[in-house]
Every structure is written in C-alpha cells, then in structure tokens.
C-alpha cells in the first residue's frame, strides 16, 4: 500500500533523508528505529505533508496515488494517519468539534454521508471507552492541559475514530510510563487487521514488546542501514545504537 523509493528530503539546505526505500503491504506492521537525528521524525513529517520539509528526490506511492503531490488533508482523505510526536494544543476548539470536522471531511471525500452530532458522539464515546478515556475529555479543548500520556492516548483515539488505511506513529511511546504505554499499544493492537498497515517510529525497543512488528528497519543518517524481523529490535537493544554506526560503516 505504501512504496517509498529513493526518498531524499530536507529542511532549508540540510538534507536529512538520503535515499529511503521502504514498502509496506496491507496488514503489516513495520517499525523504524534509529538514534536522534537519524531522520525518523522527518520521514513521518514528509509522509504527512508538513510543508517545512522539501523533497528533493524520489517518490512515494500510496494506494496507487502520488502521495507527495497531495495536500495534507487529501492524504488524510486517502487514508493516511499520523500520530504526532508532539500533539498540538488548540484552545477554544473542543476535541469532539475538532474530530467531527476531520471525520466528516474524510467521509465526504470517500463519498459517505456526514455523521451528525449524535451519531458522532456515539462513535466517539465507544472508542473513548475502549481506550479507557473519561468521555468528559471530548468537551475539553484539544490537548489543552492534557498530560503527556493523555495527549498520546488522544492521538490513538483519533486514529480509532478516523479508521485509516495506514497509520504512522511518530514516537508515540516517548515519555510514557508502562501503564500509559500499554493503553496506547492495546489501542494499536485492537486496530491491527489484514487491511491496515502501520509504520511505528520509535526510539525505544520497549514499545515493540507490546506492538510486535512484522518488520524492523534501522535508520541512520537518513538511510535504512538494516532491515529484519522483530528479533532485530532485540539485537539493537542489546548492542545499542553504537552498533548502527558500525553497520553504516560496513554498508557504505
């Protein structure tokens, strides 16, 4: 469903991604691990369409469409979802208003009828319950005054309601304690099915104990230097990111 070919991208004059190649099929969970500065978040931002980043080379095909040619909202309509590393606070907009606007824009783009406030609330409450979230948060302003764990759970909640085809999780585990991590991972696992793909970007192997990936890729200086099965994450944990330097050295 997603095919990234020779992707080069950067910010201003600094190249951060230097030739990423990655294919994700429906039903697969891919994990990308890498040290700080390896380009993990840049990859997530480029996929979601953040315009600070400039793509200089390569292509991304998403379900037969040229993803890089699409506006961020069009990417969401096509079924892409990004769980933000740093979810944004929006004072004055309630979570339910925010998400209903998103859900209905996506539904409209897919030729479905809009959900009215009551149907939306039914759906939202059911999903909130699954994620062990107090439904009162729906009337609170988007992420305003939320703890780190609440913000990340809110991302997973939005993902559950928007029902994407491919979800990119950008360091959703960073800063979470084990309990919060479990809730987030359970939320993700509940959504795993044969039609949906996941790209889980993480700094820590720990998350992959809870979300067990089909494929693990190691990112270093903007390139994937090693790919393997779930055991690669454990090996990386054991040997540390210093090992990545050696791998990169051997690869070049």
């Amino acid at each position: 469903m997603l095919k990234i070919s020779n992707l080069h991208a950067g910010i201003e004059d600094t190249e951060i991604l230097r030739g990423i190649n990655l294919s994700i099929d429906a039903g697969e969970v891919h994990a990308i691990m890498g040290p700080n500065g390896s380009g993990k978040s840049t990859l997530a931002s480029v996929l979601a369409g953040r315009d600070q980043y400039e793509v200089t080379e390569g292509s991304v095909d998403f379900l037969g469409q040229d993803l890089l040619d699409m506006a961020p909202d069009a990417r969401a309509h096509a079924g892409l979802f990004l769980a933000f590393q740093y979810p944004v606070e929006i004072p004055g907009v309630s979570n339910s208003y925010f998400l209903r606007a998103g859900v209905n824009a996506v539904r409209e783009a897919r030729g479905l009828e809009e959900l009215d406030a009551i149907d939306f609330l039914k759906l939202a409450k059911a999903k909130a319950k699954e994620l062990d979230m107090d439904e009162k948060f729906l009337s609170r302003a988007v992420n305003e005054g939320f703890s780190g764990g609440e913000k990340k759970r809110n991302e997973i909640f939005q993902m559950a309601v928007l029902d994407p085809k491919l979800a990119v999780l950008d360091e959703t585990d960073s800063g979470l304690d084990i309990d919060a991590l479990r809730v987030v991972a359970d939320g993700v696992n509940r959504l795993r099915n044969k039609d949906r793909g996941f790209l889980v970007i993480t700094h820590y192997q720990r998350l992959l104990n809870y979300i067990v990936p089909d494929h693990v890729h190691v990112l270093h200086q903007g390139r994937i230097v090693k790919s393997g099965g779930k055991e690669l994450a454990l090996e990386l944990e054991e040997k540390g990111y210093g090992w990545v330097e050696e791998l990169a050295g051997a690869a070049s």
Binding site: A71, P72, D73, V88, E89, I90, L99, V103, V142, L162
Partner: protein
C-alpha cells in the same frame, strides 16, 4: 475641517424648535464648534483619522414612512423590538413588549419629561468630547429603557438601527433601577450599500445591586462611518456586562466610559472585531474604579485581514479610595495578513496601594502547527482557518448567553473571513 457644515445643518435642524432639550442642543453645538473635530495630534485620537467624517456632506436622517418593509426589519434584526430607520423610530416596524418601559426616547420625553429629563445628558460629556457634543446637538430620538426597582425582565430586549445614506445621531438612555435586571441587544445594520454616518451616544445608569447585560453588534456595510460613545454609571453591588462586536464599517470608533461609583461592583467589558480590506476599528475604553472592592474584567480581541487596522486603548484609573480593586485587562489580535496593523495600548493609573491590576496585550498570527494538525486530520485548509479564527474569538463569543446573538457573530466571522490568509 468642515465644522461649519455641521453647524449649518444644525441651524436647519434646530430652527423653530422649542422643546425641552433645545437648551441642551444649543449649548452642545457651541461646544462642538469650539472643540472642532479631533485630530491625530491629540493622544486619544492618535491612531484614528476622522477626516472622512469631518468632510462628510450627507443629509441629516429624517423620519421615514415607507422605506423598509416589516419583513426586511425582521430579517435584519436578531429579535423583535424597537426599530429605527435613519435614526428615527418606526412604530410600524417595531414590536414593543408589554410590562416594560421600552420605547423611543422622543416619545419618552413627551410622555414623561421629568423622569427622562432628570437623567438625560447627565453622564455623557458634551463639554470636552466633540462627537458627544455633536450627538447632543442633534439629539432627537433613540431608545429609552427604564426597568423599575426590583423588576426582572426575563427576555432580551432588542433595538435595531437601520442606516441608509444619511447622517444619524441616535441617543439611548438605559435606566436599570436598584435591584432590577435586564438584557439588551443593540444592533446597527445597513440597508443598501451607500455610505452613511452614525454618531450614537448611550447613557446607561445601573442602580444598586442591579444587573445589566448589554450587547452591541455593528454589522453595517463596508462604507459606513460610525462613532459611538457609551457612558456607564454603576452604583454599589451592581453587575454590568458590555459586549461589543464590530464587523462592518469603513471607519469605526467605539468609546466606552464606565464609572464604578460604589463598592462591590463587577464590570465586564468584552469586545471582538473582524476587519478586512481597508477597514479601521478603534476601541477606546476608560474605566474608573472610584470605590473599594470592585472587579473589572476587560477582554478585547481583534481579527484583522487584508490592509485593515485596529486599535485598542484601555485606560484604567484607580482612585485613592478604591482599595481592593481587582482589574484585569487583556487585548489580543490575530493578524491574517502581513499588511494588517494592530495597535494596543493599555494604560493604568493607580492611586491606591492595595489593588490587583493586570494587563496583557498580544499580537500574533494563525498557529501553523494547529493548522497542520487540523489538515492532517482531514480538515481542508479554508475550513481549518475558519475553525481556528472562530476558536480565537470564542473566549469572547462563548460568554454571550443569547444563542442567536452568539451564532450570528460566529457565522459572520466565518462568512467575512478574507479568502487570502498569509
């Protein structure tokens, strides 16, 4: 400047009149001629050039009979109430609720000269304020509300001013006696696209332990010129909320002066303005904390597009006697264009030593991260911008308890948002 044009108009208007307020008018036109129009050299007018008004040659609004049909008035107004066309009361278009003294000032002056005369022009300063002097010179009609002691008016009262292509001088007097409660919505709209000039003065007298909520919505056309002065006098333990929404008009100046003249008063002043093209909106407020234990909350928000400009000046004067004053003032502006200009000027003069006074002013642009977050969830860019602008205004608009008024303002914000946002 063209002071003499207005003096000539006055002579035509005043000739042969000998009613109860004629002395007031004559005194006022003399003051206006002596003061002249304010210039930008004066501190209070430094950001606003009134020459488009000073150079006006529009005819004075006269009573109309067939201009505007009942259906038009109803579609323009958010609720049924008093309707004025070109500054003059139209009984045929108005709906006067029973059980409350709510009528045109002209009729009130005829029916109850003592009650009205005792309060009229007691608080609006025609001696030093040129536009108040000009309004007083042409004083003839407006809305009059008297809520007697201990009376609670449940339903909001509505006043609709429809301007066409004239100069008009509405004069309002609202008297909320001790322990009384009322809510009033004052709307200014245009009929047609011609330029017109409104110079209104409102005197509001709120008695001890009384409560008054006053909404003022200015949604005139883009050529309208509008200067207003609201004078508020509050007695002890009273509560007043004044909420001003300015959306229309080419040049708008809102002056608001509130005297907190008793202990235990709560005063809330809210404002929101949305400007585009070359619109200019200037909000000036003066608050006098005269007695101890009074709270004031002031929150003004401006949304500016294109080459528009806005001004907020908030002056708070805490008298030596006004210990335990709690005054909060905040103004913030959202610039949707690189060419828009917002000026914000808080001024505190504090002569008491045991008070809390805070003020803050911010000027910013739409949050790019929030915009991207919304778009990443599927919300298209124009809708995402509208949502964020509406959210910016919501701190003010959410305080509006009358749903049609709140929704009207929210809808106007969405409709009038400039297409291009930098």
């Amino acid at each position: 400047m063209n002071t003499e044009h207005f003096a000539t108009k006055f002579n035509e208007f005043a000739d042969g009149r000998d009613d109860a307020v004629q002395t007031l008018r004559r005194r006022a036109i003399d003051r206006f001629r002596a003061l002249g129009f304010p210039t930008r050299r004066e501190e209070e007018w430094a950001y606003t050039d009134v020459s488009p008004i000073a150079n006006l040659t529009l005819p004075l609004g006269r009573p109309t009979t067939n201009l505007l049909a009942s259906a038009d008035a109803q579609s323009l107004g958010l609720g049924r109430g008093l309707v004025f066309v070109d500054g003059h009361f139209r009984a045929d278009l108005s709906h006067v609720p029973s059980g409350v003294t709510f009528l045109s000032l002209k009729d009130a002056l005829e029916q109850n000269p003592d009650l009205v005369g005792a309060r009229l022009a007691k608080f609006a300063d025609a001696e030093t304020q040129p536009f108040t002097a000009l309004n007083t010179a042409f004083l003839e009609d407006g809305a009059f509300l008297h809520v007697p002691k201990g009376t609670r008016i449940e339903e909001p009262l509505y006043v609709l001013y429809v301007g066409t292509e004239k100069s008009v001088y509405p004069r309002n007097l609202f008297m909320i006696d001790d322990g009384a409660e009322a809510t009033l919505v004052e709307q200014y709209v245009s009929h047609g696209e011609a330029a017109h000039f409104t110079n209104s003065v409102t005197e509001t007298i709120v008695g001890a332990n009384a409560s008054f909520v006053h909404h003022r919505l200015q949604t005139e056309n883009d050529h309208a010129l509008h200067v207003t002065a609201t004078h508020i006098h509050q007695d002890r333990d009273s509560r007043l909320t004044n909420s001003v929404a300015t959306v229309g008009g080419r040049l708008v100046r809102n002056n608001l002066r509130a005297a907190l003249d008793g202990e235990g008063i709560v005063t809330t002043l809210n404002g929101v303005s949305l400007t585009r093209d070359a619109q200019h909106v200037d909000n000036h407020t003066w608050l006098e904390h005269r007695k101890p234990h009074c709270d004031s909350h002031e929150l003004y928000k401006g949304i500016l597009g294109d080459q528009s400009s806005s001004v907020f000046s908030g002056y708070i004067h805490v008298f030596p006697d006004a210990q335990k004053t709690d005054a909060k003032q905040s103004s913030s502006n959202l610039l949707l264009s690189n060419e828009a200009v917002a000026d914000s000027k808080p001024q505190l003069e504090i002569y008491a030593d045991d008070v809390k006074c805070t003020h803050g002013a911010t000027i910013g642009q739409l949050d790019e991260d929030a915009l991207f977050y919304l778009r990443a969830r599927g919300v298209r860019a124009p809708e995402a911008r509208k949502l964020l602008v509406r959210a910016f205004a919501s701190e003010v608009t959410n305080q509006i308890e009358i749903e049609p008024v709140r929704e009207h303002i929210n809808n106007l914000i969405a409709e009038r948002l400039p297409d291009e946002i930098d």
